[in-house]
């Protein structure tokens, strides 16, 4: 391993660890990632749980089984948003400028933040799996399913974190990134995160049909409500790859723009 690569990996590790500690130390960053989606999950399962009696509803063990994937993806979207807010705060406070002046790769700075967001993604996957199992959900995909769920949710956090980081780098303002919080729910409501596509009302149904988030949620959900099916899984992976490339591409462009502006 070359010295430069080793240094960059150390930087990524250190910034990732800092990002995780920062999130746990600031309740205003942590609360939206775990507490809010958990509350919403509990309330929606209790409030709309009888939806499983509707004729078009797919066969599931319970509404909780159906909803877990949506809650996980919601948490990763919010983790991406929180990561963006934290990066914007670093920019506002001058910490990012000091990193940019250091002899390290610019990419390592963004990657360090994304490593932290990925760890939060893995944590949310474990959290919602544990909540699901405690409250009677069945993970039909078994142990392999659990591992693949954790992998998909972690990758989702990286993909959405990339978009959050790009907005933070472009705007340099925490309030701008925070202002995108409601947009997370627009994207969620226009996907299959909370209800099956066939039961959504128009125009949400048409949008959900092509929303990449629907493919990601359905890929994760399939591992909860049935055994592994390659088609659904790889559709989710493809959508994730698309979102990931989009997020990382945007971040790289935003970083270049920030460096050009000085």
């Amino acid at each position: 391993m070359t010295g430069g690569l080793r240094t960059n990996l150390r930087v990524v590790g250190a910034l990732g660890w800092r990002s995780i500690r920062q999130t746990f130390r600031r309740p205003q960053l942590m609360a939206p990632i775990l507490i809010f989606p958990t509350l919403l999950l509990a309330i929606q399962v209790g409030g709309a749980g009888r939806a499983v009696d509707l004729p078009q509803f797919p066969e599931v063990n319970g509404f909780l089984d159906f909803m877990i994937a949506g809650a996980m993806v919601q948490a990763t979207l919010l983790a991406g948003n929180s990561g963006g807010i934290a990066l914007a705060l670093d920019i506002e406070m001058g910490f990012t400028d000091r990193l940019l002046a250091a002899p390290i790769s610019r990419f390592a700075i963004v990657l360090g933040r994304l490593v932290g967001t990925a760890a939060l993604g893995a944590l949310t996957a474990v959290w919602f799996l544990a909540i699901g199992l405690i409250f009677g959900a069945h993970i039909e995909g078994g142990v392999l399913g659990v591992l693949l769920i954790i992998l998909l949710v972690t990758c989702s956090a990286v993909a959405f974190g990339g978009i959050g980081a790009a907005i933070a780098l472009r705007s340099g303002s925490a309030s701008v990134v925070q202002g995108l919080f409601p947009l997370v729910f627009v994207i969620l409501f226009l996907s299959t995160a909370f209800f099956p596509e066939d039961l959504l009302l128009e125009p949400a149904r048409s949008v959900a049909e092509w929303n990449p988030l629907s493919f990601i949620v359905d890929g994760i959900r399939d591992l909860v409500v049935s055994t592994f099916s390659a088609g659904q899984f790889f559709e989710g992976v493809a959508a994730l790859a698309l979102m990931g490339l989009f997020g990382i591409g945007l971040s790289a462009a935003a970083m270049r723009g920030r460096l050009r502006r000085g």
């Binding site: 600031r26 309740p27 205003q28 609360a31 939206p32 507490i35 809010f36 509350l39 509990a42 309330i43 929606q44 399962v45 209790g46 409030g47 709309a48 749980g49 009888r50 939806a51 009696d53 509707l54 078009q56 509404f63 409601p182 729910f185 627009v186 969620l188 409501f189 226009l190 909370f194 209800f195 039961l199 959504l200 009302l201 125009p203 949400a204």
Partner: protein, 256 residues
């Protein structure tokens, strides 16, 4: 003379809070945007719940609108708490406490301003709802819904004030918002009581806000009756008394 001075102080504090809407229009956006997104989003997602046997309305928009009005009031009330925390952080509230105005008067100015500010998201939601064609609740039904919305904003503002006085920091704002959100959503927000499942049905049965939501909803899903109205008004009065007392206690302690 004392009463006149108190009323003038309340008016001045209300004018200061309402001025924010004119001077910083962006400040009102979160309180308007969040309930609007939830109203439109939840309608699109859960709209087919009305097909369940026993659902009390054919239109999910009509069923959901009072909950969105309550959410708007909740966010507006919480914003009052956030603004108070900002005033505490910046030392402006200390100057108010040093003035000869009695504490209940200061609190009245804060919570009453929230009740009027709550009419902003309510108006937006009602315009959207009517343009989407939901059931006209009648003048009486609409008046009750708006009165309850203003009342819930007072409850939320009193809660936000209590939290702001306790933590003295804007970082406590998620607690202000989440507290009201939980109180409002653990009711018949998504479906009638008989169609709720598990723990939520039990919580909703005893949550006083269920009565408040049902009273605000009656005109939108059917006719207005006194039997449906008085439990909601009673629950609202009880919650207001409790949370205003808590806020007042916080204010007295801050003064000590």
């Amino acid at each position: 003379m004392g009463l006149q001075a108190d009323l003038a102080t309340i008016r001045a504090l209300m004018r200061r809070a309402l001025n924010e809407i004119l001077r910083v229009p962006g400040a009102a956006i979160p309180g308007v945007l969040a309930p609007t997104i939830f109203f439109l989003g939840l309608t699109a997602v859960f709209g087919n719940l009305t097909l369940l046997p026993g659902f009390t309305s054919e239109s999910y928009q009509s069923f959901l609108i009072p909950v969105s009005l309550m959410q708007g009031a909740g966010f507006t009330g919480a914003a009052t708490g956030v603004n108070l925390a900002r005033d505490i952080e910046q030392g402006w509230f200390d100057r108010l406490l040093a003035s000869p105005a009695p504490r209940p008067v200061l609190l009245a100015g804060l919570v009453l301003s929230a009740s009027f500010r709550a009419l902003v998201p309510a108006t937006v939601l009602l315009v959207i709802g009517f343009s989407l064609g939901f059931h006209w609740p009648g003048a009486g039904g609409l008046a009750i819904a708006l009165l309850i919305t203003m009342g819930m904003a007072i409850v939320a503002a009193a809660w936000g004030t209590t939290i702001a006085l306790k933590f003295k920091s804007q970082s406590a704002s998620p607690l202000m918002q989440a507290g009201m959100l939980v109180l409002i959503l653990t009711t018949t927000a998504y479906a009638p009581l008989a169609l709720l499942s598990g723990w939520l049905q039990e919580v909703a049965r005893y949550n006083p806000v269920t009565q408040i939501v049902d009273a605000a909803r009656q005109g939108f899903v059917g006719g207005v009756t006194w039997n449906e109205t008085w439990p909601g008004l009673l629950a609202l009065a009880g919650l207001t008394a409790l949370l205003v007392a808590l806020a007042l206690r916080g204010m007295q302690r801050t003064a000590d």
